[in-house]
Symmetry: C2
Subunit: 241 residues, 2 copies
């Protein structure tokens, strides 16, 4: 689903960042990495940070410049931290994600990240059909390049709806089952002398409130019933002694 | 708004990760960093990766263990990559963000991240009131610790609605203004001999389609009118010569 989306880094400074980008891409299901106008990077550092995503690192394509790296793409999305002239019409990473995903149905899409120190030049921005900006506080806007890539890849991956959150396999207790539990607790709390007639209603309402703050599963109710029953049994045994 | 939310790292292995966490926190408006059961980390590496977020790094609080680090917190959110026993009831980072933000109105909230190699122990998980998991592909689930922190902080920051995307200050052209532009283009395209009577309607519809794919601003229309007018003028000059 994300096969038509290419991550393009323009002249990245640090091998470690390239590696972190590979790992972030692998986490989020992207695999097409292009480096435009590459420098001599520390590839040992890159491999270290790529961790188990070295396949993406070794499979990267190097291009002489950005124009070549996006030549076969329809949509070209640039990322910018600055907001000067030509950089006003930015969208957020989240808005971009669904647009990019839709576009990728029938075209290659490039997501372009500039140099760590200098971003994208105006000539490079001109190649972009749209611009995005990662939301940050005004106090510290400069986001690490690989972190910016991660957020974009994360938004793309979430937008695909590929990820299915694990569903807690638990049956929710019915009202009837919960009421049986409260009955046993009531009996127990009388028996162990925790409550007397005049305070019983008030106390039981407190217990109900406490146990109704989240939904109770069948297993939860069984645990609470078990405690009450055992407590009742222990108290009765004591009486017998 | 995010002042009541603490990021807690449990025994982080790498100074560089601690530094990256500080930068991510600063980008996203968080400032309370706790380290539970700290090791001896390479703080030079931490400072390097923190970049301009050294204030958060220097201001961190160290705690003997996780219990101490979250002692004053109401909601304690653990992060986990694994999905074993006790780890089924996980929410996504996005679901967590709004819940954490609401809770932080009247309580301290901790977001807890485990060791790079081993995550959180069962004893540590027991301290958590809820668990989250960052969405990743099944192929490569192991996300870098500082990247996991970034995604959580990013989701929190986006959930605050503090960030106002820059609004493109442009007036959208009205239909009347656009029609004047098309009139001038029509005249020009006849004059320069680009279209003849029999193809004119077809060509003008093509031009309309092309210029209506996105909304046109007043400035856009002025540029397009200017080109047509100048072209008309140049063609007429040539005729005169």
């Amino acid at each position: 689903m994300l096969d038509n989306i290419r991550i393009v880094l323009v002249s990245p400074l640090y091998g470690g960042n390239i590696g972190s980008v590979c790992r972030a891409m692998a986490n989020m299901g992207l695999s097409d990495l292009g480096i435009a106008a590459p420098r001599r990077n520390d590839m040992n550092e890159a491999r270290m940070m790529a961790c188990h995503a070295t396949e993406i690192l070794e499979g990267r394509t190097e291009y002489p410049d950005l124009a070549a790296a996006v030549a076969d793409c329809g949509m070209v999305i640039g990322t910018t931290a600055r907001l000067g002239l030509y950089r006003q019409h930015v969208k957020s990473a989240r808005e971009m994600a669904s647009a990019a995903l839709t576009a990728s149905d029938n075209q290659k899409v490039a997501l372009v990240f500039g140099r760590e120190d200098n971003g994208l030049s105006n000539e490079e921005l001109a190649l972009c059909t749209q611009l995005i900006r990662i939301p940050t506080t005004n106090e510290y806007e400069s986001i690490n390049m690989s972190q910016a890539v991660l957020i974009c890849c994360y938004e793309l991956f979430v937008a695909t709806d590929i990820y299915e959150p694990p569903i807690e396999k638990c049956e929710i207790a019915t009202s009837e089952f919960r009421e049986r539990m409260f009955e046993i607790w009531k009996e127990t709390l009388f028996e162990i002398g925790f409550m007397k007639d005049d305070k019983a209603e008030h106390m039981m309402l407190g217990l109900r409130r406490l146990l109704s703050r989240g939904s109770l599963s069948v297993d939860d109710v069984k645990i609470m019933m078990g405690i009450a029953r055992q407590s009742l049994w222990a108290a009765t045994q004591k009486d017998k002694k």
